[in-house]
Symmetry: C2
Subunit: 239 residues, 2 copies
Amino acid sequence: MAAPDVSVVLVSPRNPLNIGAAARAMSNFGFTKMRLVNPYDLAFREAKSAVKSNYILQQAQVFTTVAEAIADCDLVIGGTSVGNRDLHLPLHRLEAGGQILKEHKGAIAILFGSEKFGLSNDDISHCHWLYRIPAREEHASMNLGQAVAITLYELCRNPDMEIARFEAVERASGAELERLTTLLQTMLTEAGYINERTSVTSEQKLRRLVMRLGMPASDAHTWLGILRQLHWKMKQNGS
Amino acid sequence: MAAPDVSVVLVSPRNPLNIGAAARAMSNFGFTKMRLVNPYDLAFREAKSAVKSNYILQQAQVFTTVAEAIADCDLVIGGTSVGNRDLHLPLHRLEAGGQILKEHKGAIAILFGSEKFGLSNDDISHCHWLYRIPAREEHASMNLGQAVAITLYELCRNPDMEIARFEAVERASGAELERLTTLLQTMLTEAGYINERTSVTSEQKLRRLVMRLGMPASDAHTWLGILRQLHWKMKQNGS
């Protein structure tokens, strides 16, 4: 699924460090459209960001009003920590709001308010709905750069990955594990750990022990080498 | 579901600002156990964080080795941007790794490497598995505070919320909408917008128009007042 067409709109950001952090998160997740409404520090273009995200700051657009910044967007939403329930706008948790954004076909603007005051009532009047990141009610106010990062992460999050847990780690084959089990049994018999009389059940226990290791294929050879070395040393001492 | 018992372990963090940002994200999402391994700047306790998260910095524990920092944890994982495939550790995307952590009952340590170098091979040798935040491969290296924030967000994320999109916004009742529709029809008839002959179909069209507004209950009274005022003005002018 293609990422939604999102402009990150920072309204009256005060701290160039946060603008830089927002740009970095945008670059991390592949979003390039940064828009600034009345940034407090017009030297923001000198703000440092990670080298790889400087292009985002350089091509950021500056506006004097929210109306201008969102003029070409057909869905405008705002991040809030307090809910602004008295504004009677729909309020989504990010998990749900993110789904709507992922399914939206047109241009989207996400408004982030200033570090100190958040979005004003006037800013919010431009929004179709609001969302909040599910932070604790007792401390819901988030750092601007972190709020941008979490929001964009949610947009790139792939729910299919919850099921497909492991990225391919090739496991040792049955034949490799059997070689290991066999050698280990020989060694343990020689060492007196395994009783000759009960060796059949012991072999089964041992095999299950080895299977449960979940050994990667790339390590099987190393483990076999280790055991062979130990076996050689055992026999050397025993002679 | 209770949040997992997670210690956030920052290994050799260089920048007190990032330690403060990590503490703030921890407080936002309700995690309190911060552990620092060899922080570069021992004055980190003077690092500023948001006022509400200073308690996390104050009770942060400092260790000289990773082994000490994780001694009481039975699951140790590490965040990485590069994958470290040559280390043959399982590598999960955060979406999947987060599920494992949410289901884990014991104490968990999540290791975050230094801003400059990430986790060293030695740090990683303490980990059961690694995870990566699904950033672009071309720019996968994330800011430390943002990486902590996104990771903790994933742990607090509630997948049920993807379906339950709207938090309750009470919609206007049928009776309120009918009062609006009736008044509007009267006005539009008086204004010559609705033709007497076709007024039945017009009424139905009008009702559907009003229904589609999705008007919140708290706004219905205001809209009715607006229409009444306009109606009064219309009649005043017409008399």
